[in-house]
């Protein structure tokens, strides 16, 4: 699933001394009735912004809590560089957490909350550091207030400052933006990314929001049912998903059943409902039998039947539009194909052509290089979030 070798990341800042990558080996957490995390192997290179992405109950928070020391693994190892910390007490680990509900101490002022970690480690003069940290999160004027007097976004920043001030080797973020409204969340995403770049610490961010993970993280690991389905840079995961779960959980995908005809040069040929489509070899994750041919909705081109399609690839004819929704920058069509499946097509509203009405007969097409091919043994609906 993941690389256990010493893979130097381009994001790793130049540091002296041995690298302090966070390394999880064969990490497992079992509860009485189920296994939350199954033999997880993972390396988070030092200085990276790493996202663990998955639906609720996939084991991502359990993984985070094991790294923080709040849960004890059933088996496996956690290490930071050469130091094993699997069973180290939470208060002895160079790891801090920004909790989902912030967990700010209600009886302490903002400044005292931020100074908490330093004080516990015996730092006498915390004033300057607290002031610097509050400045970083732009809360200097709120220093003497109590947490309940602050807004959700401000509390979130206090939680961040309280963890960051300790300069942990790894900062864990447990759905830190989950409680904020959409607009504030977008702002905080940029802010978090800015702060991470500024302080250069390793961030491990747990989220179920795929957009959040893709916006911020250098590397995203998609987790499902206790295992990592796929890991890589956001663009790689999005463009070349390896499982139906990743294809559906990260954005949306059209998955069309097809018969795999075999490899031909550096392409794999697939027969899809009579038409022949091809998929680049490195995007084909199955080479025989039946498979799911995948194509992202925004990669599908659409035109009225018989009209020329702009930059066509594999063309499939005989569909008609069943639903049109206008979302401003684009128009989302549902197209019923001759074999009964409805495909999603997102088209930019460039104004080159009028919107297609419901019932219009259409042809669709896509560039072969954007298609991907998945093993048909997987559930085509895996990872589709129920609204």
């Amino acid at each position: 699933m993941s690389h256990l070798d010493e893979a130097p990341s381009p994001q790793t800042p130049a540091t002296s001394g041995p690298s302090r990558d966070l390394r999880l080996s064969q990490l497992t957490k079992e509860y009485a009735s189920f296994t939350a995390v199954k033999s997880l192997d993972l390396v988070v290179p030092q200085g990276q912004f790493f996202a663990l992405l998955g639906p609720s109950g996939c084991g991502k928070t359990t993984t985070l809590r094991m790294v923080a020391g709040l849960d004890v693994p059933t088996s496996g190892r956690i290490s930071l560089g050469d130091t094993e910390i699997t069973y180290e007490k939470p208060y002895r680990r160079p790891v801090n957490t920004v909790f989902q509900n912030y967990a700010l101490f209600p009886h302490l002022s903002i400044a005292e909350n931020v100074a908490f970690g330093l004080r516990r480690r015996g730092v006498k003069d915390t004033k300057q550091q607290v002031a610097d940290m509050l400045e970083l999160v732009e809360l200097t004027s709120q220093a003497h207030k109590k947490p309940t007097q602050l807004s959700g976004g401000q509390q979130q920043r206090v939680a961040l400052a309280r963890a960051l001030i300790n300069k942990p080797e790894v900062l864990l973020l447990d759905e830190p933006l989950g409680a904020l409204d959409l607009k504030l969340r977008r702002g905080m995403q940029l802010e978090l990314k800015r702060i991470q770049t500024e302080v250069g610490l390793t961030f491990v961010h747990v989220t179920h929001d795929q957009e959040e993970a893709m916006t911020m993280a250098d590397t995203v690991a998609v987790m499902n049912q206790g295992v990592i389905e796929q890991m890589g840079a956001p663009i790689e995961l999005y463009e070349n998903p390896r499982t139906t779960f990743v294809a559906n959980f990260l954005g949306q995908s059209n998955l069309i059943a097809g018969e795999i005809e075999g490899r031909e040069g550096d392409h794999v040929k697939v027969r899809v409902q009579g038409a022949l489509a091809s998929v680049p070899g490195d995007r084909a994750h199955s080479e025989s039998g039946t498979g799911w041919l995948g194509i992202r909705p925004e990669k599908v081109l659409i035109a009225e039947a018989g009209e020329p399609i702009d930059a066509p690839g594999d063309v499939i004819t005989g569909g008609y539009v069943t639903d049109v929704s206008f979302v401003g920058v684009s128009t989302q069509y549902l197209v019923r194909m001759p074999w009964g499946q409805e495909l999603m097509v997102f088209e930019q509203n460039t104004g080159a052509r009028a919107m297609l009405a419901v019932g219009t007969k259409v042809d669709i097409s896509w560039r072969p290089e954007f298609a991907f091919l998945l093993d048909a043994s997987q559930d085509a609906k895996a990872g589709i979030e129920e609204e």
Binding site: L70, P90, N96, F99, A103, F105, P106, L108, F116, R120
Partner: protein, 310 residues
């Protein structure tokens, strides 16, 4: 975000508008039952108590009691009974501290460690109330009986010697009729009043805050003193008040478990009122006790309420 731009401003000032006349009076109507209760059961009796504390000290049932504004009663009562007053505060204070320490451990265990036994444990804390206060106190006479196993055990582990040294007992072979017995009785009888408020405030402490403290380099002990304990302070204040105030005025424990040397102020007031019929001194003593307690409570609450304690 901009979708609200076209919506006409909806009137939101229903609440800020002029209140209907009836609404203004609602508050007063709601206070009325409480105010009446306070008037009948507190203000009037208190007035009568204050009045009797200023009666002529030479009055008796035969000659009648006369209001002479005799403020000297206060000094005389204080002078004569300062020993009992001091003893009451002292016993109540020790009992409160023991209740706090033992009760905190118990409340902590119920709140955080009891799991599915939580409700059963709470019922057990309250269970003694199903029996009469007097009966329960009397049964401590059996427990502390001179030939009982408790005394035997205390002697065997030299607890009696220790109690002797600190002055809580006077002989090696008795627990009954000593300050120790009185304080034990007070501790026992008022324990639920300590445990319940402590439990209520500990139960409200968010466990995630304790986790956060651990994450921020606080060992379990430091986490307790920096986070859990400060957050349970409202319970500590409520519990100590609910224990100390009635304990300071209690006379049953001293009467049943103590001796003439362990008389508390409650015993003196009771005997002045019911047997000696010296209403003036009894009234003055009651007022003095009340003033002392109110002053102590005010100082205590003010101190506990400041942030330095936290």
């Amino acid at each position: 975000m901009t979708s609200t731009a076209g919506v006409p401003p909806v009137s939101t000032n229903d609440a800020s508008g002029v209140k209907p006349r009836g609404r203004k009076l609602t508050g007063y109507w709601l206070i009325l039952p409480g105010a009446l209760w306070l008037l009948i059961f507190f203000v009037i009796p208190f007035y009568s108590l204050l009045a009797s504390s200023l009666f002529d000290p030479d009055g008796s049932v035969l000659t009648g009691y006369e209001m002479t504004w005799h403020f000297g009663n206060y000094w005389d009562a204080f002078d004569q009974y300062k020993g009992q007053l001091w003893r009451s505060l002292w016993y109540a204070g020790i009992a409160t501290i023991i209740c706090l320490v033992v009760g905190y451990v118990l409340a902590y265990a119920i709140a955080f460690k009891a799991g599915r036994w939580k409700n059963l444990m709470l019922v057990l804390v309250i269970a003694p109330f199903f029996t009469s206060f007097l009966l329960r106190t009397l049964s401590w006479k059996l427990i502390f009986a001179d030939d009982g196993w408790v005394v035997g055990f205390a002697q065997a582990v030299h607890l009696t010697d220790l109690l002797n040294i600190v002055g809580l007992t006077t002989t090696d072979d008795r627990l009954l009729a000593t300050p120790f017995a009185v304080i034990a009785g007070l501790t026992y009888n008022f324990m639920p009043f300590m445990v319940l408020p402590l439990y209520a405030s500990l139960e409200k402490v968010d466990l995630r805050l304790i986790e956060a403290a651990g994450d921020l380099y606080a060992s379990p002990a430091r986490g307790f003193f920096r986070v859990t304990f400060p957050l349970s302070l409202p319970g500590v204040v409520a519990g100590t008040l609910l224990t100390f105030i009635p304990a300071a005025g209690d006379y049953v424990n001293a009467q049943l478990l103590g001796s003439t040397n362990t008389k508390m102020i409650g015993n003196s007031i009771q005997s002045l009122f019911t047997t000696q019929l010296d209403y003036a001194t009894a009234g003055a003593l009651s007022v003095i006790l009340m003033v002392i307690i109110v002053a102590a409570v005010m100082i205590y609450v003010r101190t506990a309420g400041t942030e330095d304690l936290v």
